[in-house]
Symmetry: C2
Subunit: 296 residues, 2 copies
C-alpha cells in the first residue's frame, strides 16, 4: 500500500447514472469502486448522493425516508469496500442526524476501512429543481480535511464549488486534493442557449480553486436525465481532475458511465507553489470583512 | 454622457508596448485614450505602470526616481484626458508617497476629470524578474471601489488577480466591474514548456472572479519583450473582458498594440446573480479563519 510519502497518489472518480432502485445504485457503485481499485485508484470519490436519483427536484416529505444514519447500512458497505480495496473512499450521503435534522454529508473512509470523519455540506443551494434548502440543514462542521494513509484530502460538496472561501479554508488545512462530489446538470430547455457557458463556468471555478491554492481538484458528477421527460435535469457528467496549476489531467464524457483513474504527482504541488507563491502573499490583515454579507 | 442608470457601459482597454522613453509612453497612451473614447469607450483602463518599462526586473535604487507624487504631472494629464473624453480613466502609477515609501498605485478619474480616489496594490509579488517587494510598499488602502458617473468600478492590480479574497471584497462593495491593470509575461526560456498553461491559469483565475462574484472583469496587460535579449520578459498581452458568468466578450492579441472596446450590459449582472445566487449563500459564520496564515 502506498504511504503519504509516496510521490504519487492515484485518484478514482466514479461517474454513474442513478436508477430509481437505491440498492441497485449501491451495488453498481460498489462494483465500480472495485473496478477503480483494480485500475490503480487509491483515493476513490463518488458522485453526490450516489445512492439515489437527485430527489431535490421536488418537495416531497416522504423522501426523508431515504435519509440514513451515519454510521449505518451504507457506510458499513463502504467501509468494507475500503478495506477490501485498500483505497480511501469519499462518499456523499443523505444523512439522518435526528428527526427533522437531515444533512447532505460526505464521509471519508481510510484505506483500512475506518471512518476518518464526515463533512456536512455548508453551502446549500435553492433554485428551480435544486430545492436543497428544503431537505438539507446547513452543515455545522465547518470546512474539513482528513489525514488518510494516502494523503490529506479535503471534501466539499457540489454548491460549495462556487465559493472560493471553502476551497481556501480546506487548502489552508493542508489538503493535497479537494474532492467535489457533485450533481449538476442542464435544464434541457436551457441547454442549447446556456449549456456550454454553464458547464464552462463550472470547470473554470473549480480549476481556479486548484490554481489559487496550489492543490489538485477532482469533481465527480453524475450523468443521465432525471425527472419528467419534458423537463427535469440532464446531468452533464464531465467529471475531471486538474493539477495544482489548473491543468486538466483527465476528464470523463458528458453522457457515459465511467471510472476515471488519474495518477497525481504530489511533487507537482510543491513545484507549483514555489513558482506561484500565492500562500506567501495573502493579506490576512485585510480580509476581515469576508465575514460580512455586504459592504456599503 | 451616459449615467449609472444606462443599461450599458463600454469598457476600453489600452494594450501597449512600453519604450525606454517615459514621456513617449505617456503621449502614446493619451492618444490611445482619445482613440478608445472615439470608439465608444466610457471606462478606460490602462495597463500596469504604463509610463515605463517594467523596471522590477532588476534591483536599481536609481529607478525610484521614476516614482512621482499623486497628484502630480502624470495625474494632471490623465485628469485632462478624462475631462476631454468624458470617460472614466483607471491608471496605474509608480507613486512616491514619501521618501522611502513608494507604492504601485491605481488612480481612478471620473468622467469630469476629478480624482475619485486611489488604490495601493495590496498583494506584492517577488519572484525572478518580478522583484516588486524591493520597489513597492504593500498597500494600506484595503480593497476599494469607486462610484463614478458611469458605474461603480473596483480596481485591483496584477498580482491581486490571483487572490479570490481581493475580488470578493471589491464585489461586496458593489463593484459592477473589476479592472486589473497588469504586467505579466513569459520567461522566454520557459514559454515553450509552460507558456500555454501560464496564460490559461491567468485567464481562468480572473474569469473565476467574474463568476464567483457576478461582476464584469477586465484585465489589461502590456505586450513586447523587455530586458536582455537572451532573457527578460515577454509580456503576453491577451487583455480581455469577461461577463459576470465568465464568458469572454473580447480579447486582444498577445503581440499587437490594441485598443479593445467592449460594451457591457449591466442587466446581465442582475440576470446572472438571480440565476446563480452565490452571494445569497455565503457562509459568513464560517469564514473567520480566512484571516489566518495557515491552519494546522
Amino acid at each position: 500500500m502506498a504511504t503519504p510519502q509516496a510521490h504519487t497518489f492515484t485518484l478514482g472518480l466514479v461517474q454513474m447514472r442513478c436508477e430509481a432502485d437505491l440498492n441497485a445504485n449501491l451495488e453498481r457503485t460498489l462494483s465500480a469502486i472495485h473496478r477503480a481499485a483494480r485500475n490503480g485508484a487509491e483515493i476513490i470519490c463518488l458522485q453526490e448522493l450516489f445512492r439515489s436519483p437527485y430527489f431535490c427536484q421536488r418537495y416531497d416529505p416522504t423522501l426523508f425516508d431515504w435519509a440514513e444514519p451515519i454510521p449505518g447500512p451504507t457506510t458499513e458497505r463502504l467501509a468494507q469496500a475500503a478495506r477490501e480495496t485498500r483505497a480511501v473512499i469519499a462518499a456523499s450521503l443523505f444523512e439522518r442526524r435526528a428527526p427533522g435534522v437531515y444533512h447532505n454529508t460526505a464521509v471519508v473512509f481510510d484505506a483500512d476501512g475506518s471512518l476518518c470523519g464526515l463533512y456536512r455540506k455548508m453551502h446549500i443551494p435553492d433554485d428551480p429543481l435544486y430545492f436543497e434548502k428544503y431537505y438539507f440543514t446547513p452543515g455545522d462542521t465547518g470546512f474539513r480535511t482528513f489525514a488518510t494513509r494516502l494523503g490529506r484530502v479535503g471534501v466539499l460538496v457540489c454548491w460549495d464549488q462556487w465559493f472560493p472561501e471553502a476551497a481556501r479554508l480546506a487548502a489552508l488545512q493542508g489538503a493535497e486534493v479537494l474532492l467535489y462530489p457533485t450533481a449538476i446538470g442542464w435544464h434541457p430547455q436551457e441547454k442549447e442557449e446556456h449549456g456550454a457557458a454553464q458547464r464552462q463556468a463550472w470547470e473554470v471555478m473549480q480549476r481556479s480553486h486548484a490554481i489559487a491554492n496550489g492543490v489538485f481538484v477532482a469533481a465527480v458528477n453524475r450523468i443521465g436525465h432525471e425527472g419528467p421527460a419534458e423537463g427535469g435535469l440532464q446531468f452533464w457528467g464531465s467529471s475531471f481532475v486538474c493539477d495544482p496549476f489548473g491543468v486538466v489531467l483527465g476528464q470523463a464524457s458528458e453522457d457515459r458511465e465511467e471510472v476515471l483513474v488519474v495518477p497525481c504527482d504530489r511533487r507537482r504541488l510543491e513545484e507549483v507553489r514555489r513558482h506561484w507563491p500565492f500562500l506567501r502573499d495573502r493579506r490576512i490583515d485585510a480580509y476581515g470583512d469576508l465575514t460580512r454579507r455586504w459592504l456599503s
